[in-house]
């Protein structure tokens, strides 16, 4: 496995912009450049060579940038308000929030095409929204209401949508499922890929390695994505994993590490991975290096196994929303007023979703027995 030499460092365009950027007019699209340190490559022995990896530059339109930022803001607000609802005991059971991981989620989603499939684990509200489920329906489901996307039967860990297979509570179990979804797409020659996400904790499940092997053997169009937020509940990746370089864990499967806090880096890397897989080269393993601000779930303050300084440090220097704002301003794709407006809108949407959740009815008692079995001929 040769380590590919990365390109020489280019002059960085995506500098930290000073706050309160003042230009009023914006451009319709811009070229961006990425630092070479946003990617690391792992050559496998199956599939094609990775070459020099994803490009370190690209083009992004105003619409695309605004769209991504809006989604990130929407997710941030949704998760924050959901936490409040949990404390009010409107949401019960488990609630695993993804604040801090927005760029990994939105950057990845923005690179997919309609019909591409996605499956993830229980920290899934962000992807549920990017997959097309409204904030309202998500909030209502979290509150267990009949207007929720699973009609109140699923809850936080069991949110689904078109080409979106959850939301899964059993750690690692979604990975073989993802290989299977990829299999169907290959069998039916759809040309679509399945993005199969799991965390640093799940990366040590045996079933993940079984899925790797099968996907490589059968050249399944599966993009395995490890969301490495450095902690599996209360156990850091270095305490759980003999090899915490998750992008290399596919061993014979080529892999790529990406800075998960940089939405353009994630987008570019995902586009490149998707192209590679669509070309019939078999699976890849992508590691998104990211961070979660909150604890594992609402019952974990997230303080006993990591320092407040560490959390604060990420919030201050690697916040995905802030980075996206800086990029957008630097590239003249958005103004600070537009950014403010989007944030305000996201807050309003989340507020309305909370109202909707409050006022929606509970599922009727008969729903207890609904959808256990079915027959397509009935």
């Amino acid at each position: 496995m040769l380590l590919r030499l990365l390109r020489p460092v280019r002059p960085v365009l995506c500098q930290v912009a000073t706050s309160g950027f003042r230009r009023q007019s914006t451009v319709t699209s811009a070229r961006f450049t990425l630092n070479s340190d946003v990617y690391k490559l792992h050559e496998g022995t199956t599939g094609a060579s990775l070459g020099s990896g994803p490009p370190l530059e690209g083009e992004i339109t105003r619409e695309e940038m605004t769209g991504m930022y809006s989604l990130m803001a929407a997710i941030r607000e949704l998760e924050t308000k959901a936490g409040d609802l949990y404390l009010e005991k409107i949401i019960r059971g488990f609630l695993h929030r993804c604040n801090g991981q927005e760029a990994s989620i939105v950057g990845l989603e923005s690179a997919l095409t309609p019909g591409d499939e996605l499956i993830t684990a229980y920290r899934c509200h962000g992807y549920t929204h990017t997959r097309g489920v409204s904030v309202k329906e998500i909030m209502a489901e979290l509150a267990g209401k009949a207007t929720g996307c699973s009609k109140g039967k699923g809850g936080s860990m069991h949110l689904y949508g078109p080409h979106y297979y959850g939301g899964n509570g059993i750690v690692g179990a979604q990975v073989p499922l993802g290989a299977g979804i990829a299999f169907t797409n290959k069998y039916n020659e759809t040309g679509k890929i399945c993005v199969t996400l799991y965390g640093d904790g799940a990366a040590n499940q045996g079933q993940v390695f079984e899925a790797y092997n099968m996907a490589a053997l059968w050249k399944l169009p599966c993009l395995f994505v490890c969301e490495n937020n450095l902690y599996g509940m209360g156990t850091s990746s270095t305490r759980s994993s003999a090899c915490p370089e998750y992008y290399t864990r596919g061993h014979y499967i080529p892999g790529i590490w990406v800075d998960g806090q940089n939405v353009l880096a994630v987008r570019t890397a995902t586009q490149w991975c998707a192209d590679y897989i669509r070309a019939g080269n078999g699976p890849l393993v992508m590691e998104q290096f990211t961070y979660r601000y909150y604890g594992h779930s609402m019952s974990d303050p997230g303080k006993s196994y990591r320092s407040a300084t560490e959390v604060k440090g990420v919030r201050e220097t690697r916040d995905p929303l802030k980075k996206c704002e800086e990029l957008a301003l630097e590239l003249n794709l958005m103004t600070s007023d537009e950014i403010k407006a989007i944030k305000k809108d996201a807050a309003k949407t989340a507020e309305e979703a909370v109202e909707f959740a409050h006022s929606s009815p509970h599922p009727p008692p008969a729903d207890l027995y609904a959808h256990i079995w079915w027959s397509r001929t009935k």
Binding site: R92, G93, G144, Q207, G234, P363
Partner: protein, 299 residues
Amino acid sequence: MGEDIGAYGGAYAVTRGFLDEFGPERIMDTPISESVIVGAGVGSALAGLRPIVELMTINFSLVAIDQIVNHAAKLRYMSDGQFSVPLVIRTVTGGGGQLAATHSQSFENWYASVPGLKVAVPATPYDALGLFRAAMKDDNPILFAEHSLLYGMRGEVPDEWYEIPFGQADIKRKGNDVTIVAYSRMTHVALQAAAMLEEKGRQAEVIDLRTLRPWDKETVLESVRKTNRVVVVEETWKTGGFSGEIASTIQEEAFDDLDGPVARVGGLDVPAPYNGTLEAAAIPNSERIIKALSDNYGI
């Protein structure tokens, strides 16, 4: 060995302080790898240690079920006694916390079918301590199922040493009119039903099985011969539940003592829904126990 048992103190705080008291060589945080948590537990027991492993919940035991059923339970038998597996598998069972379908299950009845395993299902602090001591001393593999909603329960335990043998039920409440057999959290639901029956002038005898394999058949039969009416209450799905085993045994061995068919109250045959009202409807409650007795025995 177990996930987040050490530094984190345990997902349900059961092992809080253990790392400080016993040190990292004895309290080991593992990766999320249930097959190996149990498998390595079996292996280290085979080679001479007496490990205690934790599966964070019984829902995740399914990832390790081969190691539990095919290896822990059978190695002594298949080697004709050359090896033994003195392994305690602690796990958390039960629903009612709105954790939805894959996190609310109680599979101790499945494991209770397996020769070679022992299964404990304590309902009180006193029983949990007594049974756990017995479990640690036992040279066989034991599934020790602690109910998630009972961790907050407080109870008196004596200062003197005591143990509770497996296969010994506990009569939590004496009575002559009807027998209620239960285990784990349902013991408390049974006691609630008994209180309701008392208001109607009926005295229920509540038997807490405490262990499912072995289970105390004699105490149950003796009670049925006295009261002639029995209901078996269990949290897991009624179909295939251990209550079927108990009911069948009662009708086989005390048929002539029954005033009517053995009643069974179990979880409704649905995956656990997330919504709180739906979830509660699926779990046995005292009203359903009263109704079952009324339906079968007219009381």
